[in-house]
């Protein structure tokens, strides 16, 4: 089976919007291709590994060198297209359309298991020649896929869930099992594909399967009509939502994104395996400030997430904790159908037992989520407003009589988040977007007043509608003061309301402050630049916390 088939699959998936049609297309692809090619296809589509053989810049330089093409021309084209692999693909069309060389019909497997690995072993000169040779012998409609794989930028609008669904349909086995089979390390091979489509379910393999997560809805006004005593209140932590599973003695950590992350947090796996009971806990993983008993910023947790087998030093520097919200299974007994208030009683009971009976001290890595007990709804509001002080995002409100169902079920759990902080700022720079936003100015920088000067304080990309983006793009082109490469400095005229979650001192920025998750929440056409906020206003926000 050829690379061409995979190119066609990519084209189809790229141009179909309906989920059902995508599943159908995938199913048909799997049916009509070899197991080994299917295995590679799944590997690429699920983004398991995007190894970069050469960089986008290298690709552009190579093209420029081989075909004597000016760099500036390639760069101008890039601004329009927003993707190196695609620019070179489009430019190659000009170069290979009249070629005479015999075309090769290489398979996806050959490309990924032979051609590309061999490429990495060549010296630069040989490598360049080989890429040129591939460009000239691969059929034109394979160029995009080839260039994307080469630069490690292969991506398509297909989620793991979609792959899971299509394989589930293909062999008529429930999705959760396929989803589990796809977890962890997936090495493309005939075996791994055969395992994936095996119709016999091995009970062992189900053993570490997490339950579908129950998610909270945004707060609704009608909730305030109910008695406060009907609800359980917890802090909303900003960490990794996780199920901590111990079955048949084996511990597994599953994130809400259905990733098995045992390797990133070995100290937690180790400690929990000393507990005598089997269980499934729903909770949150955080990097914990033990002195003050509050969570550290999410940015510290990021230092742990993608690091497998962290050193002892890393473990000490970024100490983690698992905060349990809920108990879903105990010693093989699924208790999700029991009321929340009773599950909480079970959870507390077992937690005290484990604290006493477990050989190693577990409380330095595992604790229960403290409950909050507001007197009435205004009191709940006060708690919510205080949540920034302990680094939480607000409150989670759970109905005491609810069972643990799945998904974003209405009327069971709510999130009551703190309002974002806001400042009105002036647009001063714009930069061309990439990918889907190529050719439009979509990356913006905003400034606040300091005396008579505008000082940049944040960049934001999201929040405008497509119509607003186009309108602003036209304005930007007409009101440019200077161009620096892809960046334009702009006439200070437009005011936007910028919302963000956190504000802190930063020595790295000229403004002296850094904000988290800045986003545009309103185009303040009603405001003149003199109405925009000053850095003073920003410092005041900081004092309030």
């Amino acid at each position: 089976m050829s690379l061409k088939k995979f190119s066609e699959l990519f084209g189809d998936l790229d141009s179909i919007n309906s989920t059902n049609s995508k599943i159908e297309v995938l199913k048909n692809y799997f049916l009509s291709n070899d197991p080994i090619d299917n295995s590679w296809a799944i590997y690429l589509l699920t983004g398991k590994n995007n190894k970069r053989f050469i960089s986008g810049r290298y690709l552009k330089n190579l093209f420029s060198q081989i075909y004597e093409y000016p760099h500036w021309l390639i760069d101008t084209c890039y601004l329009k297209v927003g993707d190196s692999a695609e620019v070179i693909t489009l430019l190659l069309k000009n170069k290979t359309i009249s070629r005479k060389k015999k075309l090769s019909n290489i398979s996806l497997n050959e490309l990924l298991s032979e051609t590309l690995p061999a490429l990495s072993k060549l010296n630069e000169e040989e490598k360049n020649l080989e890429i040129k040779n591939l460009w000239e012998t691969l059929p034109e409609d394979n160029h995009l896929i080839f260039n994307k794989i080469l630069t490690g930028t292969f991506r398509v609008g297909v989620s793991i869930g979609l792959i899971t669904k299509s394989i589930s349909k293909l062999i008529n086995i429930e999705e959760e099992i396929i989803s589990h089979r796809l977890m962890g390390d997936f090495k493309p091979s005939i075996d791994s594909y055969e395992f994936l489509i095996n119709k016999n379910i091995n009970l062992q393999e189900l053993n570490s399967k997490p339950f579908p997560f129950l998610l909270a809805n945004t707060i609704e006004d009608k909730i305030f009509k109910n008695s406060i005593n009907d609800f359980q209140f917890e802090w909303k932590y900003d960490g990794i939502r996780m199920q901590l599973i111990k079955r048949s003695g084996n511990v597994s950590l599953w994130t809400r994104g259905q990733e098995l992350v045992n390797e990133s947090f070995p100290e937690l796996v180790d400690k929990m395996s000393h507990i005598k009971d089997d269980f499934v806990l729903d909770g949150e993983l955080l990097v914990w400030n033990f002195k003050e008993q509050i969570a550290f910023d999410f940015s510290l947790l990021q230092k742990r997430i993608n690091r497998k087998s962290p050193t002892r030093l890393i473990q000490i520097k970024y100490p983690i904790i698992f905060i349990a919200y809920d108990l879903l299974e105990i010693n093989g007994r699924d208790i999700r159908e029991i009321k929340l208030e009773n599950r909480r009683i079970e959870l507390e009971k077992y937690f005290s037992k484990w604290q006493i009976k477990t050989e190693n001290n577990i409380s330095d890595i595992f604790k229960l989520c403290d409950l909050i007990f507001p007197k009435d709804w205004p009191d709940a509001l006060t708690y919510k407003e205080k949540s920034r002080e302990n680094n939480t995002e607000g409150l989670i409100i759970k109905k005491k009589t609810s069972i643990y169902s799945s998904g974003r079920k209405k009327g069971i759990w709510w999130k009551y988040k703190v309002d974002p902080m806001q400042l009105d700022a002036v647009l001063i720079y714009a930069k061309g977007g990439s990918g889907r936003r190529a050719g439009l100015y979509t990356d913006y920088s905003f400034a606040l007043w300091k005396d008579k000067e505008l000082i940049k304080f944040a960049s934001a990309y999201s929040g405008l509608t497509n119509i607003e983006i186009k309108e602003l793009d036209r304005w930007i082109r007409r009101n440019t003061i200077e161009k620096f490469g892809p960046v334009r400095s702009l006439k200070p005229e437009m005011v936007f309301e910028i919302s963000f979650e956190k504000i802190q001192i930063s020595k790295r920025h000229k403004s002296g402050i850094a904000v988290r998750f800045p986003r545009i929440t309103k185009w303040r056409k009603d405001k003149k630049i003199n109405d925009a906020d000053s850095l003073e206003n920003a410092y005041e926000l900081m004092k309030k916390i």
Binding site: S15, N17, C77, N94
Partner: protein, 328 residues
């Protein structure tokens, strides 16, 4: 070197203007005398005292502006004189009746390319190479990322797109004048043998094309009350203005596509909101523009209608052609 005011043709109020003949080319506001290169809406305006064009353009123009306009027509290649300037129309290959316009005054030749393409198109006359001293060229697609495929390849892709989804109604959006007729002509030569419907605005243009002797496949005028089942597996041609809004609610189980040169870029394709894009254009691609610039033997070139920065720099650096800028 001459100042901008001394050029035979220059930019005035955002339009091309020849002062010596007091005549405008494709003006966007009402004027006394207007030369019209072709009948697309962005190339003429209502209310000019007198229009001058090719015969085909005149017929299309009357359809759009009304019968009561004063319009003078000339054959391709036929020279006429205004204030001592020799003017003639030449085929530009863009759509039926489209033309380049040549001016000759005191042995100096000027050529306005109009919108043009070099690609084969059975619904209009092939682009004619015209030699000139000064060339004013469009450059809508003035970057080397634009390289058109043969139109029969695109037609085959469209045919496959429809027949691969026999349960669906395929809506293909395209400009009602020119692109629609070219697509019909090409699609009728593919394996697709199902029904083709077209929107009233397209249907009207098809009829004019046919009356002017162009071979256009018969299509059914789409009625709002068509039964859904009848439309299954068929192709419907619609103008892009209907792609947003409530019109699409008339159909069930649809797939949509847009036929335009811009669709060759993935980001634009994604942003357009159509399921699919077919990259077919009635404008010249990068190579097409370069070929025309070279074959016209023009020593001086102006560009308009497009981003000309890169193209200009390329011509100056690589081809040593003098590219001039309009003072707008």
């Amino acid at each position: 070197m001459r100042t901008k005011q001394e050029y035979l043709i220059r930019y005035k109020d955002g339009n091309l203007y020849c002062e010596l003949a007091d005549i405008w080319i494709d003006p966007s506001k009402p004027v006394k005398k207007a030369l019209i290169t072709h009948a697309h809406f962005d190339h003429f305006t209502f209310g000019c005292e007198e229009y001058i064009s090719t015969k085909e353009t005149a017929i299309l123009l009357k359809e759009r502006v009304g019968d009561n306009i004063k319009i003078k027509t000339f054959e391709y290649g036929e020279e006429f004189k205004i204030n001592g300037i020799n003017i003639s129309f030449h085929p530009s290959g863009h759509i039926l009746g489209s033309s380049q316009i040549r001016f000759i005054f005191a042995e100096e030749k000027w050529l306005i390319s109009g919108d043009f393409k070099l690609q084969k198109d059975q619904t209009c006359k092939q682009y004619e190479i015209v030699k000139t001293d000064y060339l004013i060229s469009e450059c809508t697609f003035g970057l080397p990322i634009f390289k058109w495929d043969q139109s029969n390849k695109i037609a085959n892709d469209i045919s496959k797109w429809i027949t691969n989804s026999p349960e669906k109604t395929s809506l293909l959006f395209c400009y009602s004048l020119g692109k629609a007729q070219r697509l019909l002509n090409e699609i009728s030569q593919t394996n697709f043998k199902g029904n083709i419907y077209s929107h009233g605005s397209i249907h009207k243009m098809n009829n004019i094309y046919r009356e002017l002797g162009i071979d256009i496949k018969d299509t059914i005028k789409i009625e709002n009350k068509k039964k859904i089942d009848e439309l299954k597996g068929s192709l419907i041609l619609l103008p892009p203005s209907l792609s947003k809004g409530s019109y699409l609610k008339n159909f069930k189980n649809i797939q949509t596509a847009f036929a335009s040169g811009w669709m060759s870029i993935r980001a634009l394709r994604k942003r357009s909101g159509y399921d699919k894009g077919f990259s077919i254009s009635d404008h010249a691609d990068w190579d097409g523009i370069l070929e025309v610039v070279k074959k016209s033997e023009a020593k001086n070139v102006f560009f308009h209608h497009g981003d000309s920065e890169a193209l200009s720099k390329y011509l100056v650096e690589k081809e040593s052609i003098n590219v001039l800028l309009f003072g707008k």
